[in-house]
Symmetry: none
Subunit: 165 residues, 2 copies
DNA sequence: AACTGTCCCATGCTATCCCATGAAAGCCCA
DNA sequence: TGGGCTTTCATGGGATAGCATGGGACAGTT
């Protein structure tokens, strides 16, 4: 599965085309479908989410879980798989941003790709900046620190008995 | 088995014909009956459900399971298999929407195809929009996020005895 | 002979492919 | 260490093929 890191801002031309950052492409190259990325509107932000085939396979499998209530399943089927658009890269490594997705995210001339490990997001750069500011305020207000989070997670994993991912 | 993704809105001409989205057709091409789709009225919505031959085979087989109580079996046999209409694609990849089904879903000039992985739905576009709005409100109210659902599902899978994805 | 449903052909639009250009970054050699 | 060279990328435009859509012809049916 591809890993996406860092942030890149690329232009969107008037055909709606946009280069996938070279780093992302290198990561995609090792997946089962190197020439395709999957895009969908984010559930929680005015932004797009993206992932590779392998990630979606995992997601698809987790939907088979009987522990999910049918509301949640219906929602995911409608909002993720129903909105999912497979987009293929051209020989230059570009994708065409589907119109409705670009509109949803308010993307016009530029698109900010932000890596989020197994997935990435695509934002209108201004909206991303605003969003980051909001998050940063929360960090300050809640006094969050990285080492604290790591400590908390590993303590919880230990309590579960050790097989946590 | 074919996988259906994304949403497409196509016109219905005055003969009742309607193009199956090209992506759906490509997916159908790999199934055991590429030129046929099966349609039936949805149990839960004013919409149509569709699938390929292979999916129905699986469904049919699962009806043989002794774990199913007879009410459920009866319901599926009556409302799915009893209402099922096989529809064949013409050389342009179009189907004719059976009148009673189009009426049931309130489809007149346009039809929205929404992929749901192994099946798809056909909605009157306005009705679909309303339905999506309802679901989106639920997402906000319940504060649902995708990563949360994936985490929940994979944790459940681990507890069932697997070693976690 | 009229009607319904199927098949085939025509058309315009949109998306996909291919080639060209310019800038930036890395590399090599002096 | 610095300058020039090469390669990689991002970006742009034009040509081409695929697709959605519409109309007409033909055949089967009643």
């Amino acid at each position: 599965m591809a890993i996406f890191l860092s942030t890149y801002v690329n232009k969107v031309d008037r055909k709606g085309r946009c280069s996938i950052p070279a780093q992302f492409r290198q990561s995609l190259a090792k997946t089962s479908a190197p020439g395709t990325v999957y895009l969908w509107p984010s559930l929680n932000h005015q932004a797009l989410e993206g992932a590779d085939q392998d990630y979606l396979d995992v997601l698809s499998e987790s939907l088979e879980s009987p522990d999910l209530d049918s509301d949640e399943r219906d929602m995911i089927e409608t909002f993720i798989f129903g909105k999912l658009i497979p987009v293929s890269l051209d020989t230059e490594g570009r994708i065409v941003l589907p119109k409705e997705l670009a509109e949803f995210a308010g993307i016009d001339e530029e698109a900010a790709f932000i890596g989020r490990r197994k997935t990435f997001q695509i934002w209108e750069p201004g909206a991303l900046k605003a969003h980051e500011q909001t998050l940063r305020d929360q960090v300050v207000r809640k006094d969050i620190s990285l080492s604290q989070i790591v400590a908390k997670a590993s303590r919880a994993a230990a309590n579960r008995g050790g097989e946590g991912a």
